[in-house]
Symmetry: C2
Subunit: 438 residues, 2 copies
Amino acid sequence: MKPIYVGLLGTGTVGGGTYAVLKRNQSEISRRTGRNIEIRMIADLDQEKARCLTAGDNVTITNDAFEVARHPEIDIVIELIGGETVAREVMLAAIEHGKHVITANKALLAKHGNEIFAAAHQRGVIVAFEAAVAGGIPIIKVLREGLSANRIEWIAGIINGTSNFILSEMHSKGLDFSAVLAEAQRLGYAEADPTYDIEGIDAAHKITIMAALAFGVPVRFDQVYVEGITRLANEDIRYAEELGYRIKLLGITKRVAKGIELRVHPALIPVKRLIANVEGVMNAVIVNGNAVGSTLYYGAGAGANPTASAVIADLVDVARLLTASPEQRVPVLAFLPELLSDTPIVTMEDVETAHYLRLQVTDKTGVLADVTRVLADHGISINAMVQKEHHEGEDKVNIIMLTHKTLERQVNDAIAKIQNLPAMIDQIIRIRLEELGS
Amino acid sequence: MKPIYVGLLGTGTVGGGTYAVLKRNQSEISRRTGRNIEIRMIADLDQEKARCLTAGDNVTITNDAFEVARHPEIDIVIELIGGETVAREVMLAAIEHGKHVITANKALLAKHGNEIFAAAHQRGVIVAFEAAVAGGIPIIKVLREGLSANRIEWIAGIINGTSNFILSEMHSKGLDFSAVLAEAQRLGYAEADPTYDIEGIDAAHKITIMAALAFGVPVRFDQVYVEGITRLANEDIRYAEELGYRIKLLGITKRVAKGIELRVHPALIPVKRLIANVEGVMNAVIVNGNAVGSTLYYGAGAGANPTASAVIADLVDVARLLTASPEQRVPVLAFLPELLSDTPIVTMEDVETAHYLRLQVTDKTGVLADVTRVLADHGISINAMVQKEHHEGEDKVNIIMLTHKTLERQVNDAIAKIQNLPAMIDQIIRIRLEELGS
């Protein structure tokens, strides 16, 4: 059979990794597919880099991604340029020219996925994006195929390695956020501008994509609630630990009566859960389905080789179904495009979770009575409470409370009221708490 | 489009679960597939049970599984009879009649898989068996598709829930094997005859199947090394814990220079590994690939609904590719049948692992010198050693050693020699140790 010709756009970390892994594992991969999959064209602005990568191989190199996207010989285009401008245009051009597209571009799919998926559907081509979420963990395949018997109930994941590395280090070394961030930047685990990672935006891209796959809804990045880890104090990590919890940045999506929850924020998780023990740059995703219960998927969420593993798995899948009819293919968003649902995203105010609250107060009689009165008035019941001296001899104390599940709105109102009590010294710290039980 | 007609053989726990889950999630499943998948015939010796299950649905019930396997209207046969006699014959009959077959029967596949897979290949039909390994965890799909870019290096898994439940209870409650087994039987976690579970045979079936998928070799159940958990003492679980390890029953398969390791036995695992913290009846499998590194998959390994989740995921896959050409399908054993390899299974004597050794000796001068001399003579180096009084005031002491990696043969020889030393009181305890690092 004729080999399958692939065009690769971008030879950065993931592009270079993809080229190298495909070459290294070529014989293993053709034992699986029975066909040769050849990267035949590469586009990169830095053509010299592309030339070094392909050293002597029969690959056409260009600086024009559109030339590859439109080339009649190319069957599949792998978009690893990143960004949301050229990447979007070139992907749409490839689709228009009847190419199947593979991408790792989570930002693009989270923001422009609906447009791209619609174009692909109309043209009858595949858009595959295993590498866009959780790197080498085949979580897209799990959601689309492995758990297809289930009504998915919820997903919760550690899906940003940089922020998990920072939280792990804060926990294990007792350091503050800024110190660890600097270290992470030095080690190359955090970028010079780490905003996307530490502010939860990258995780929001990924949970947006997973929500679409889990519930059969369009991507709705504009409706994700996003809160990062920049304001987490080491103190709270320590207190959480004393109470049996660990703090992780989670992407969460959940089917509830009012619609779908879609949120990224730090959360306390019981230490006994496996996911609470995921350390360093690793990723892990829990998927809960109504038949299978909770399942967990763990692995490297980034890096050249793990991400290449995901890109090439897509390549093998797409190659196998190159000439298949649409009914023979797994729908791009797991559900038939004409059967997507418009279930609304629940606003954060309507989300119900337990909370960790830390109040910094002057140590005077009656403070606790005032605080608990406000909480009771807002229907918030307390699950556990401890009082901690802030520093020896100081007048300031920390009151830490774990609440039962309460509507976010109620908690917001109560916090605003409590914040105005005369004994309050500083901003009230609030971190949501997720039991993640089956 | 015409619905897909399915014949279900067996309405026990998994069969009943499959029927119920398929019905309960029908609308979700047809949103994914665009086709109706209908269980049209059921075979069970207990026809009354089948009648209760299907209550009023349009399903033909028979006590003759072969009638279903041969019925011209049936597209897919789900074999959930179990056992290795009728199940084998009826599966071969279904294949002969051009039906695709889905099964959860690990014993049958581990022992007769080569015959069954060859028959299916010849007839151009699919044999799908996601439910045969690790219940609801889609590990077969991960091995065949999700990690297809990788050369798989090794797999290690907790793949028998009963034995993991027993080990978890021994650990958390400080009880002995027999006490926990009785409790597990009372709770229904262990069968009246628990041999398959506690002697590692069930885990051996599953690791045999995973090895075939990972390395592209035939199933070779007759060559698995199998050792169960019946001889584990609570003492060893405790000592292991003090040294930072937990004892789990692992199925392991690994690519090494001499061939493929294929073994089931209890092993010490560092407590810091996620898999060491998998408790109760849950399953978890680590897959290490040369691109992705180590990934872990966790979930319920048994039970009606989780296993049904796997059966139905297969059903959706098979339904989608009902009329596809063989090249469009993922090969049953992950690699093209004509490209399977005959890489040999390494005998246990040639396996290299670290070891935990517990020597029970009379507390006399020179014992340790004698022991360490024998170890040194066999090229075995010690990584850690502790001495424990057996009971207060007793003359007997426990010497616990962790060795570096050594050939099994060397360890066997050394143990035989040490056992003959005059100070030895009881049988030497030896448990293998697996770091499971990337």
